[in-house]
Amino acid sequence: MLTFVVLCVVFAFFGLILGYASIRFKVDGDPLADKIDALLPQTQCGQCLYPGCRPYAEAIANGKADINQCPPGGEEGVKALADLLGLEAKPLDPELGSEKPHRVAVIDEKKCIGCTLCIQACPVDAILGAQKLMHTVIASECTGCDLCLPPCPVDCIMMEAL
């Protein structure tokens, strides 16, 4: 009986310490996801099955996603993530795509109809244009994510290697 009471008291005391510590040492934000995001190529293409690079970074930080899901980052990217997190580097997941050489989008101006659908699709606003006016891709800002190709109704966008 004495044992039981003593143990209860002692463990309750420990519990109080832990409870206080969990409030005192609360962390805001997700600093680990920031570090992971800094290593991703920022193409915002969605090939990793997440809606952008930041959600993928957060998923890796929470242990929900593997590090080999980013084709634009390539083997180098997987290696960098592995180095950061102290994990084994593994080959890219072949189902999600393969590493392609860096390409930029080019709009065929003869076919463009000025519908602005590609402008709305581009995650980094790399397409210049307006309704019924010629659209053009700012090559230095294009990350090669391919997201502008599906919306184009006249299929006038091509990906060209630099």
Binding site: D37, A38, L40, P41, Q42, T43, Q44, G52, C53, E76, K79, D83, P123, V124, D125, A126, E141, T143
Partner: protein, 492 residues
């Protein structure tokens, strides 16, 4: 007696200088064609100022300046522009690119040059403009734009160093210059002291060039050159490296991410000083330089005062042509030069030597063997790096560890390469690792930029959504107010 300091590492190399320095220096005859690669410092293409069929004169600008980092290029003699042709560039990459090709007419007609001997009254800023307009770059091999280097704001400079150490084997062009044009060099030193506002100049001359020292000292006694100390420096490779020379002459060390100006020193090659003197006093831009043609593969090794843009084949012809044992053509010296695939490439402002290597002279066929971790490379490194660690990490592509071991500080001198008992081509590994690091840095900047644009776009979309909701709410409110039955109207 001027006391000298030491730097760690370095190696004694057989100098092979007598072959070319004992022969008298000659002036190369006018070439049949001049080739000017349209290659800018950052790797981009330069824009030519002349077009096909245009007649150019000696000293006329054929490539304009593109900011301070890309000084203009001038035609070395008169002729007609044959065109802009695709030719091999004299670059380690071996790439092909646009070059201005000029058919020389032999008249050597020049534009009007305007120089002044009375430069003491001219402001340093104006003198720098003239140096930039004359297209002067560092003639020690790196070809850094001189006008930029001589403008070291915000650092205060107290010492001018002139580099006549010429520590790399086979090369004797600076030796030749000092023996034949000592007044140009000393005059250049005086000019530089005026531009920089310093009153102390240390002129380093390699110990293995005693004739040059005698000639310089005699010339110094003949003229009024100010406070110039002529100092023999040991013939250890790479004493002539800028940072190593600064340590030897002043005892100061250039910090890891710094420049010599940061510790109050500016270092210039003696040939650059002579070119500056020529440009200011006579007005002639940089169109010629002394080049050493040497090696067992050429019949008569010697120094030639050659026009910039001359094809190498013509220079070799002047020296008697190739011998039977010729094996390889190298632009530069045996340590820091690079091999050329053909001899119709031109010499550039940066070319100090054409080494026509004979059989087994500079090249060996030894296979690279595994690293035995002997540490001889670390003992030899003049920058006190750990080439062995850099090698292992470069092989494993561990870029963060490479940066930790100070890869950017490697001057690619080749000391570690030479002493390695396993004949591992260390400098090659470091060069490729440096380009990988640079590529990664570029990608990181690009990715950061893309992230900023993406986040800005998300923020804009959020803002648009909020504004839409706000205007919808306001519309609803005003609509509700409009259809409200006003007070006091009573029931209808």
């Amino acid at each position: 007696m001027f006391g000298l300091w030491n730097f760690d590492g370095g190696i004694h190399l057989p100098t092979h200088k007598a072959e070319s320095s004992l022969a008298p220096m000659q002036v190369a005859e006018l070439p049949k064609e001049l080739i000017y690669p349209l290659m800018m410092r950052n790797g981009e293409k330069a824009k030519p100022l002349v077009s096909t069929g245009e007649q150019v004169r000696r000293g006329q600008s054929v490539v304009g300046a593109d900011g301070w980092m890309n000084p203009p290029l001038h035609a070395a003699t008169s002729g007609k522009v044959r065109g802009i042709e695709q030719r091999l560039w004299p670059h380690p990459s071996g790439l092909v690119g646009d070059c201005i090709v000029i058919d020389v007419d032999g008249d050597d007609e020049s534009v009007e040059f305007q120089g002044t001997a009375n430069y003491a009254s001219i402001q340093p800023g104006e003198l720098l403009d003239k140096i930039h307009a004359a297209g002067i770059v560092g003639l020690g091999g790196a070809a850094f734009p001189t006008a930029v280097k001589l403008n070291p704001q915000p650092y205060a400079i107290d010492t001018l160093l002139l580099n006549g150490a010429e520590c790399e084997p086979y090369i004797t062009c600076d030796d030749s210059l000092l023996r034949h044009f000592p007044h140009e060099v000393l005059g250049g030193a005086k000019l530089l002291m005026h531009i920089l506002g310093v009153n102390r100049c240390l002129l380093a001359v390699g110990e293995d060039m005693p004739d040059a020292i005698i000639v310089l000292e005699k010339a110094q006694s003949e003229g009024e050159y100010g406070n110039i100390h002529i100092i023999p420096v040991p013939a250890i490779y790479p004493t002539g490296g800028e940072k190593q020379l600064i340590k030897v002459l002043t005892g100061r060390e250039v910090p890891a991410h710094g420049i010599p100006a940061g510790i109050g020193v500016i270092c210039q090659n003696v040939a650059t000083a002579a070119a500056i003197h020529k440009a200011i006093t006579t007005g002639e831009p940089l169109i010629s330089r002394i080049v050493t043609i040497t090696g067992r593969g050429v019949l008569h090794p010697q120094n030639l005062l050659a026009r910039i843009g001359t094809p190498i084949a013509e220079l070799v012809e002047h020296c008697g042509g190739y011998t039977d044992s010729v094996q390889r053509l190298i632009m530069g010296g045996p340590m820091m030069g690079f091999a050329l695939p053909a001899d119709d490439l031109p010499i550039t402002k940066a070319t100090n030597c054409i080494l026509v290597a004979g059989q087994g002279e500079v090249i060996h066929d030894k296979q690279a063997m595994p690293c035995i971790r002997c540490g001889a490379c670390a003992t030899a490194c003049p920058v006190s790096l750990l080439p062995q660690q850099l090698y292992w990490h470069a092989r494993a592509d561990k870029l963060d560890r490479l940066m930790e071991y100070h890869l950017p500080d490697c001057i690619e001198c080749g000391c570690c390469d030479i002493v390695c008992p396993s004949h591992i081509p260390l400098v090659q590994y470091f060069r490729s690792a440096k380009s990988k690091v640079a590529a990664k840095e570029r990608e990181r900047l690009k990715a950061d930029n893309a992230r900023l644009r993406y986040e800005a776009r998300q923020a804009r979309k959020e803002r648009e959504k909020l504004e839409k909701a706000e205007s919808a709410r306001r519309k609803k409110e005003s609509l509700a107010r409009a259809t409200e039955i006003p007070k006091g109207m009573g029931k209808v």
